[in-house]
């Protein structure tokens, strides 16, 4: 099965500023990929190129199509939520359901209505009358009711409280996700998504810094909390990052000798957020 997204030498410039610098990556079917990077790293540029919202240089195939210029066809099989909720204020909730139902062959009306029923937002309400979190919930309900092969979420839970965020991610994994679907997600709240991701793509200054699956992280990376007396010996093992913690130092290693590391302390698999900080510092 060909990859859902395949990028080779993907570049994007805004004037003289380089947002994406010859980036290569691919996303396989059935994965939940976190695209993680600091502000201005090129995340949004990458997502926009993938969604056919912007022209780019290099090669890019999404569901077997060149996205820019084929956006309408692409959106039959892919869908997205970009940044904060962007439903128009004048639209009524029931109109939104009717419209998407009217133009999208993959839209499942019953599912959208069921999801909206959970939010207890009346159909006659206009989007502008809703709170930020409710707007997001309406948008998520519309999007989750689309049977898409590729779902792109750009900061999907911004403005939601912690309960709503949790229930969204639970629904995403338990109800929505299956082997036929692929999800590409960006968020600042890395801690919230790291349990559901299967792969991570770290991006910084327009380049891919890390591209691996979560299982690979366990075999490739290690973190050890080392006490002061062993620090010199541990540093000899070439840590790529260290940070102080409760009088000890946590050292991060790439492709280390796990046996030797064990002599300095307990060898742990770094969390995605720790690895992100370590990689980008």
């Amino acid at each position: 099965m060909p990859p859902i997204i395949q990028a080779r030498g993907l570049s994007k410039k805004y004037g003289s500023q380089i947002a994406l610098d010859h980036v290569d990556f691919s996303v396989e079917a059935g994965r939940i990929v976190g695209l993680i990077g600091p502000n201005g790293a090129g995340k949004t540029s990458a997502l926009r190129a993938i969604l056919g919202l912007t022209a780019y240089e290099g090669e890019l195939g999404v569901l077997g199509r060149e996205p820019f210029g084929n956006r309408a066809a692409l959106m039959l099989e892919a869908t997205f939520i970009a940044d904060i909720a962007v439903l128009p204020g004048w639209l009524r909730v029931d109109q939104a359901v009717d419209f998407v139902d009217g133009v999208h062959p993959q839209f499942r009306r019953e599912r959208a209505l069921a999801l909206l029923a959970e939010t207890q937002i009346a159909g006659q309400r206009r989007i502008r009358e809703l709170s930020k979190g409710m707007k997001t919930l309406v948008h998520l309900a519309l999007t989750m009711a689309i049977d898409a092969k590729l779902l792109v979420l750009d900061e999907p839970t911004l403005g939601l409280d912690i309960l709503a965020r949790r229930s969204f991610y639970d629904a995403l994994v338990n109800d929505y996700m299956d082997a036929t679907r692929t999800i590409l997600i960006t968020t600042h709240q890395v801690e919230e998504v790291e349990n559901l991701l299967t792969d991570v793509l770290f991006i910084d200054k327009g380049r891919i810094v890390l591209d691996c699956s979560l299982e690979e992280i366990a075999t490739r990376y290690a973190a050890v909390a080392v006490s002061e007396d062993l620090i010199a010996a541990a540093r000899a093992e070439n840590p790529f990052y260290e940070r102080p913690m409760l009088g000890k130092k946590v050292l991060y290693f790439e492709r280390p000798d796990f046996h030797r590391l064990a002599s300095f302390g307990e060898v742990l698999t770094p969390s995605v957020s720790d690895l992100f900080v370590a990689k980008l510092s």
């Binding site: 805004y14 926009r48 969604l51 919202l53 912007t54 022209a55 820019f68 210029g69 956006r71 309408a72 066809a73 692409l74 959106m75 039959l76 869908t79 997205f80 939520i81 970009a82 940044d83 962007v86 439903l87 128009p88 204020g89 004048w90 639209l91 009524r92 109109q95 419209f99 998407v100 009217g102 133009v103 999208h104 062959p105 948008h139 999007t143």
Partner: protein, 292 residues
């Protein structure tokens, strides 16, 4: 096709002024017909009454027509701008609708759908008014208003105006949509300033009036191209309020319309080409409008 129906329906949801505006005008005219003093000068012979009745119905249409022109222009200037400002563009772009379809649906709404709504409102309120006036004192005018061929002529006139204006003013609509897709704000200013600057610059530096005449002919040339010489048929347009014998047979609308002359005029088709190019430009900007 189905997608276009939804897109146009969407425009009516978003721009409720499309039907609220004509409804308000219709209500105001109804109130005037109900409670106003109807004093019509120059009633007398059946021909004259008939001409008067035609005038009244025509005047009704003109009121709606003027508001429609202003509203429609504003709509076309705003239509590709509003969803960029509130960023809902990203939502519309997440659906399987091409940018071309989005632009064409808005063009159709501005040039065809909105005029149809306004003229339907004009017809409806003209009928109600005729009914009210027949019930009130002026029975001469009242009966003159109920002539089928008068109504038929009026419908033909409005349909002809909608179709020919959509064709003639396509470049103007295209220009408005281009500005709407391009400018971040101040669409009104951007739509007026560049042509104005071109006219002034030409006058100042070259001393010529080519751009000025082009614009003038396009903006003011519609009546001359789409209708037979109006001054010869002025009887229908300006009522004979003065001299008793100034009119004997009211001019028929059929004599005014000049579809053959309109469709065979090169200016018509040059305009269509320019309009099409501008609309293509608007689609191209729309394709990339996330970056703007």
């Amino acid at each position: 096709m189905n997608t276009y129906v939804w897109l146009i329906r969407r425009e009516f949801w978003e721009n409720r002024a499309i039907w609220i505006c004509p409804a308000v005008i219709a209500c105001a005219l109804m109130l005037a017909a109900l409670f106003g003093r109807v004093e019509v000068a120059g009633l007398g012979s059946p021909e004259r009454n008939r001409a008067m009745a035609g005038m009244v119905l025509f005047a009704f249409g003109i009121i709606f027509f003027l508001v429609m022109t202003i509203y429609s222009s504003w709509y076309l200037l705003d239509c590709l701008n509003a969803d960029r400002k509130d960023r809902s563009l990203l939502f519309w772009k997440s659906l399987p609708i091409s940018d071309t379809a989005m632009v064409l649906a808005k063009l159709f709404t501005g040039l065809i759908a909105i005029p149809i709504v306004y003229f339907a409102a004009a017809d409806l309120s003209a009928m109600l008014m005729a009914f009210i006036i027949s019930l009130r004192a002026h029975s001469f005018l009242g009966s003159a208003l109920w002539q089928p061929d008068l109504w038929l002529q009026l419908q033909a006139l409005w349909l002809y105006v909608i179709a020919s204006m959509a064709i003639w003013y396509l470049p103007l609509a295209g220009w408005f949509m281009l500005i709407s897709a391009w400018a971040r704000r101040a669409v009104m200013l951007w739509s007026i300033m560049p042509p104005l600057a071109a006219v002034l610059a030409e006058r100042l530096f070259l001393g010529s009036h080519v751009v000025e005449n082009l614009l003038k002919n396009r903006l003011a040339g519609y009546l001359a191209v789409a209708f037979h010489n109006l001054s010869q048929h002025a009887g229908w347009v300006t009522p004979p309020l003065g001299g008793a014998d100034s009119i004997t047979t009211p001019t028929s609308v059929w004599q005014l319309l000049d579809p053959i002359g309109f469709l065979s005029s090169p200016a018509t088709w040059i305009g269509v080409l320019v309009g099409a190019a501008l609309i293509c430009g608007a689609v191209q900007l729309r394709l990339r409008s996330i970056e703007l």
